[in-house]
Symmetry: C2
């Protein structure tokens, strides 16, 4: 619990319309998209940079933990106040400060919602590619803090690939400016990249400078059903090597399809063992050529069936089915243990077989979907926390899963970050020497460990 | 000077075929592509990872500076032994360990020459895009240490965008493994990106894991002459917004053209004030469409003249002219002060006018060429070191140049790095707080400041 005088100071410096400490607010900001709950002592909604500096000054002087937070829809507990303290919520700092079409730049406050930036860019013929599933709620600041991915990342890269510059505050209250308004920049250590994906543990981001692209004029979406995931994987290899640069290559296993088709009250063919979603984009001639090549690859890959969205509404309907998988599978069991492992893309069939064998051996319901192009497998262990034996079996499965991922040269998290929920698994990927480097780098930025403490390692 | 017993230890542990300390070697490795000269005490050529560990153990125990070095063709003095010590030359660790077409990965030793990797990849239908001008001599390890760019970076990104993983040794001799064999990876702090561009000051890279792309089937090259650089800049804006995704957008000013045409004994038209080199690539239909659109944009941009290379030999000849600019302008004056500033791309005309006015005001010969797409202006102050007054005027011009670059949101180095030659200019871009962060991060990795000491800040 922070002292009363700290609260009084926050109120007096920032005003009561920006500072809250009543139970309702504390409860509301004790959650994120994990099932965990940690109550903060106060919640502050900055509306301008000076507010950030002010809160940092107070927290720094009074030695109070500070936790930066975007929309709070993270899957790893990154925005939770594990040691109490002040949660700094950026949702009111949501202005797009500048869209510069000549230089393909956007300058935004951290609280801008990802989809809002995309829409604003599209109106100017510009394109902000990163598309985390949460894009209609998540913020750019949160996306940067977690280095968010999404389906389009296979072709276009992750959030970090679009961050040219960051303005941020150290816990001490000192301001730093990293990066530049340029694609190339090799002056000094790349602290900008160090901050990207650092989950709010190194500095508080106050402004983000993003790179934009020209908006691709056309997009086409294909849904291809296969008898097995292995056949789908062979198809994906042909697509990647077929020079059609797919923007999206998603896959869904039989269980995902069963769940989402039931959720949407649609029948699923007995023959369908997996589905692959392919999006292509580009200029009219490019898209025409890619459609033709892709059609041939589909026909020669022995699909159970396939469809191409003919209208924007049909495209959106197919995407909606893909996005409904998460809510649909959440109905299968009381709890979803949601891992986002990555392996080299061509090893997906091997990894999927391994996971299916694990699920059978340990009698667990595991649902798989994800991004085929970049090897990102959303591995959902569906469990009942009341069933102790099942929870123990899940623990054994996770241990084997992470060992295998690291053996194959993969990573324990491709999109969600480490936060609290994946912290116990860091030792699978990192040696004691590497973990010690993390701790010493944390200490360079935040020697007293008060900025989003207790996360990552 | 290091002690005799250190030399004896190096010889006894590594063998005399890998360790050299005679004057000829010390002289040869006292240089890089800058005009500076610093003599090391010993040069070691590791051929396997164990050699690196061994040298580090000795240098660490005996407190001897260690300087990693690739081909030694850097423009900022990054590989020079400013405090003496051991230079670790990677040219014998030049094996391509693995080319994995299914996963689009290459695993290489640091001494692999960039062009060799490109050639090996092309044979397998794969593509390693980064193309620093030095690609026929420079090594992947050096490219990673400097985060090298090149003409194609406008479309394809810089070296760092292709580094998925690094294996490296700390000065203490401890080994670290960073990144993964995957595009997505958000576990832990991004130390891989911190090492990229760190100029060998944080760790010694022992292995590099690179991302490859499918090789674009076709390439087309256009050379367009304009009366003024400003007209060329308007053309470039149309090209960027024209959805043709040029792979390359180079520019050369009148002085560059004069020098290189004289060098090649070719006449230059009086009307030509600047030239733009455009490369497009892709599949046959893409290239056909892009050729058509580009042709229209060229015609509507009022060029003085233009040509499209019809054969591979013609393409190579145009590229050779571009690459001859550096040796050609080197003949203009005894010394070239070679800056590689970057500004937001659309501000190139403004920046170029600013530089031209500076050159006129201070009576200096300044030659400009560079990468139009990403705002990277190679700014060459041609001077005579014996002319004190000219050298003083050059100093004044550099001061004004860097101030302006930073005002425009640019950077003092886009490709060459800081090393020794740009170290005095770091304060233009970085605040004392930021510079102090650099020093503290350096201390995390190398507390005694013995790994490539004296560089960057």
């Amino acid at each position: 619990m922070i002292e009363k005088k700290v609260l009084r100071e926050l109120y007096s410096r920032l005003g009561k319309e920006k500072v809250f400490s009543d139970r309702e607010y504390m409860l509301a900001y004790s959650y994120d998209a994990t099932a965990m709950e940690y109550w903060p002592d106060a919640v502050v909604f900055p509306t301008r940079e000076e507010d950030i500096a002010e809160v940092l000054r107070i927290c720094s002087e009074r030695r109070v933990p500070l936790i930066p937070r975007g929309a709070g829809v993270g899957y790893s507990g990154g925005a939770l106040a594990v040691q109490g303290g002040v949660v700094l919520v950026f949702t009111r700092m949501n202005r797009i400060l500048r869209l510069d079409a000549a230089n393909f730049l956007a300058e935004v406050e951290p609280g801008v919602i990802t989809a809002d930036l995309q829409a604003a860019a599209e109106k100017r013929g510009l394109f902000y590619p990163p598309d985390p599933a949460s894009l209609k709620t998540s913020t750019i600041g949160g996306n940067v803090a977690e280095n968010a991915g999404g389906p389009r990342c296979f072709k276009y890269g992750v959030t970090g690939n679009y961050v040219l510059g960051l303005e941020a505050y150290l816990f001490s209250g000192e301001k730093i400016r990293l990066g530049a308004r340029t694609i190339k920049n090799v002056a000094g250590y790349d602290l900008k990249s160090l901050l990207i994906g650092s989950e709010g543990t190194l500095a508080v981001i106050s402004k983000v400078l993003l790179r934009l692209l020209p908006l691709p004029p056309l997009r086409r979406l294909f849904w291809v059903d296969f008898a097995t995931l292995a056949t789908g994987a062979q198809f994906v290899q042909k697509v990647i090597h077929g020079h059609i640069q797919p923007a999206v290559l998603e896959f869904m296993d039989r269980r995902s399809l069963q769940a989402v088709y039931a959720y949407q009250r649609m029948p699923l063919s007995e023959k369908t063992g997996a589905a692959v979603l392919v999006e292509i984009d580009g200029s009219p001639a490019e898209v025409a050529e890619r459609e033709m090549v892709l059609g041939k690859i589909i026909e020669s890959s022995g699909p159970v069936g396939w469809t191409q969205a003919q209208t924007l509404a049909e495209q959106e309907a197919l995407w909606q089915t893909r996005r409904n998988i998460s809510p649909a599978i959440a109905l299968l069991k009381p709890r979803k243990i949601n891992e986002d492992i990555v392996v080299p893309a061509a090893l997906i069939p091997e990894m999927v077989s391994f996971i299916e064998a694990l699920a059978a051996e340990h009698e667990l319901c595991i649902v798989l979907f994800g991004h085929f192009g970049d090897g990102n497998i959303h591995t959902n262990l569906m469990v009942d926390p009341a069933d102790n034996d099942e929870m123990k079996r899940a623990e054994i499965v996770l241990d084997k899963l992470f060992r295998r991922v690291v053996e194959l040269g993969g990573t324990i998290s491709g999109e969600h970050g480490i936060g609290l929920s994946k912290k116990p698994f860091m030792h699978y990927q990192f040696s004691p020497v590497e973990l010690e480097l993390f701790r010493r780098i944390k200490a360079v930025f935040d020697p007293d460990n008060l900025l989003n403490p207790g996360k990552m390692f």
